[in-house]
């Protein structure tokens, strides 16, 4: 009978059961019993103490699942037994030690973050609070420095975090957020990402090798005037706050103001929606390219420092991962590589919570739009130029609940990391 078979199989294991401190190779199975007979089999199994089976849910009635932790040495035999008896099971946890290691790591990171900062990355903050946290990161990490690359229209400093472990004039990557002020999840994510990069250096192999080779420049609030305005007056404000001569309307769309197909007039581009020449429009491109000091400051900084290999910019919402071009609907020369890298990055994003990003050129994916930042960077020799539109796809839109900040930042970082790993590997 089955019971005799059971005792025979496992008696050979008695001597082989080791006393391990860890849970390496331990598996947790969920067993679905179909009848009383099967329940009795499992109760017999439970009674064999030498197997050191740890029932998280004990066998009691056929309708209830049975969860059991099985030490590595017994895994195969227990499964063989279940299969031979026709008892259904599924694997809840494939490697328990892996789960425990991850939990420990998460807790350590969280504790470190609590020790070192009371900043709540899972909440939306004012500009002053953000700037304070930039100071804090710079003071806490020797390889992080806060630099000012210019001033906004209303004279607010444009602060960039420089991540550099040494060298001079190393290859660099650029990352900005909040160029459109109402896209709050981007500034919030940028802050989390800054903290993550800083704390991962020295512990995460990928980040460590990246910063050992390259510098990273992060501008978390690219449009501080607009950002303050979204806090004080109009949550839906997108543009800068510059006065426009001859108009009662204020502000220029900073992502139509770059010198790339500026003004939407290009012989190569078929007519279509692009940028507006009306000052009151939310996509007003401005009187001339780089008319906005927020844009010019970045252009000057990147040109003066030189040797940038990647230009990454964060927007919301729509869940898109895009590369040039926006001002024309033809493919960039590096189309194949950018498309492939884009897809890989989107897969990385998806791997965490299942969030889907669409990949493609700006023109094909969202709409034709001239004067955009990644078109400028690409046409100025920065091959790895990507623009991301983060969560969500319209349910909350710009008003993404704060509870989604950290999940969004986490998944976005995986995508950016994938891109940066490629950039690192391709840069000499």
């Amino acid at each position: 009978p089955a019971n005799m078979k059971l005792i025979f199989i496992f008696s050979t294991l008695i001597g082989a059961v080791l006393c391990l401190e860890t849970f390496v190779g331990h598996q947790v199975l969920r067993i679905k019993t179909k009848n009383e007979e099967e329940v009795k089999q499992l109760q017999l199994l439970e009674s064999l103490e030498h197997l050191e089976l740890d029932f998280w849910i004990n066998p009691s009635a056929p309708a209830l699942p049975v969860d059991v932790r099985i030490p590595a040495a017994s895994v195969q035999s227990v499964k063989a037994f279940l299969e031979s008896q026709g008892i259904d099971y599924s694997i809840l946890i494939e490697d328990l030690q892996g789960v425990l290691d991850k939990e420990k790591q998460d807790m350590a990171e969280s504790a470190q973050r609590q020790r070192s900062s009371t900043f709540d990355f899972g909440a939306y903050h004012t500009l002053d609070d953000i700037n304070e946290e930039l100071d804090h990161l710079a003071s806490e990490y020797s390889f992080v420095e806060k630099i000012q690359i210019g001033e906004s229209y209303e004279k607010r400093p444009l602060y960039v975090l420089k991540f550099s472990t040494g060298g001079s004039g190393r290859a660099a990557v650029w990352l900005d957020a909040g160029i459109h002020s109402r896209e709050w999840v981007t500034q919030a994510s940028a802050l989390w990402i800054a903290s993550k990069i800083a704390s991962d250096y020295g512990t995460d192999a990928s980040v460590t090798s990246l910063l050992d080779k390259m510098d990273l420049f992060l501008l978390p609030v690219a449009n501080p005037d607009g950002f303050v305005y979204t806090h004080t007056s109009n949550r839906m404000w997108r543009k800068t706050r510059s006065k426009i001569p001859g108009s009662i309307c204020v502000g220029v769309d900073p992502n139509r103001n770059w010198d790339a197909g500026f003004g939407g007039c290009s012989l190569l581009a078929p007519p279509g929606p692009g940028a507006s020449n009306r000052p009151c429009s939310d996509s007003y491109h401005g009187p001339s390219a780089n008319s906005e000091v927020e844009v010019k400051s970045v252009v000057d900084f990147i040109k003066n420092r030189g040797n940038f290999k990647a230009f990454l910019t964060l927007h919301s919402y729509s869940q898109l991962l895009m590369y040039p071009y926006g001002y024309k609907c033809t493919r960039p020369d590096d189309y194949a590589e950018l498309e492939s890298l884009g897809r890989a990055a989107a897969n990385s994003i998806h791997s965490l919570y299942g969030t889907t990003f669409q990949v493609g050129t700006i023109c094909k994916t969202i709409y034709q739009a001239s004067g955009g930042s990644i078109d400028w960077s690409y046409d100025n020799g920065i091959k790895y130029s990507f623009a991301l539109e983060l969560r969500d796809t319209g349910k909350y839109g710009f008003l993404l609940p704060a509870s989604q900040i950290i999940p969004t930042a986490r998944e976005t970082w995986l995508g950016l990391k994938r891109i940066l790993e490629h950039v690192r590997d391709e840069s000499s």
Binding site: A123, Y124, W184, T230, H231, R235, M236, R238, D253, P273, S276, S281, D282, S283, S318, I366, Y367, G394, K395, Y396, G397, F398, L399, L400, P401, A402, S403, Q404
Partner: protein, 168 residues
């Protein structure tokens, strides 16, 4: 392409229940955008394959709660700047989405993509008949132009008679 008439799109869609992510229902639709005319809404024919979840109990509860309010309901900024919606205002947010859906449909072309960005203001208006009336000011975000446009609209709702936009 239908000569002299417009552009027709045949769609296969999956509807996801906003309040129950695991619940989906398939449907097919035909959308006809009329040529040239800017004042005419696209023609839409929809067939739902399957059943929509019954919300009778929740509907009745909400209806009774609003009807029994001493003072008319008034609220602003749903969601607020941080994306929060107080639980008791969730149904109002949903009704605003429905009302906005109607306005969006009436104003859509092949070159627009609208979403409800925020309910700026809502005011309940007590009626002598059985309907609930809500006067909304909503903000609609149009993706292509990136404009955020305020829109005034009035929604009538009744648990059995459903939702109707009476002014838009």
């Amino acid at each position: 392409d239908i000569d002299g008439v417009g552009h027709k799109y045949c769609l296969e869609l999956e509807l996801e229940d906003v309040l129950d992510k695991d619940r989906t229902v398939s449907c097919t639709a035909e959308v006809l955008y009329p040529l040239g005319s800017k004042t005419s809404a696209p023609d839409v024919q929809v067939t739902v394959q399957g059943e929509l979840r019954s919300t009778e109990e929740a509907d009745q509860e909400f209806y009774n709660r609003i009807r029994s309010l001493e003072k008319e309901l008034v609220a602003e900024n749903i969601p607020d700047s941080h994306g929060n919606v107080p639980p008791e205002l969730e149904p109002i947010h949903l009704l605003a989405s429905v009302a906005s859906g109607y306005v969006i449909w009436q104003n859509s072309t092949e070159n627009t993509k609208f979403h409800l960005a925020q309910v700026k203001h809502v005011k309940q208006v007590k009626r002598s008949d059985e309907d609930l009336q809500f006067d909304f000011v909503v903000l609609l975000h149009e993706m292509v132009s990136q404009e955020v446009l305020p829109w005034e609209l009035t929604l009538l709702w009744h648990p059995q008679r459903g939702a109707r936009v009476s002014r838009d």
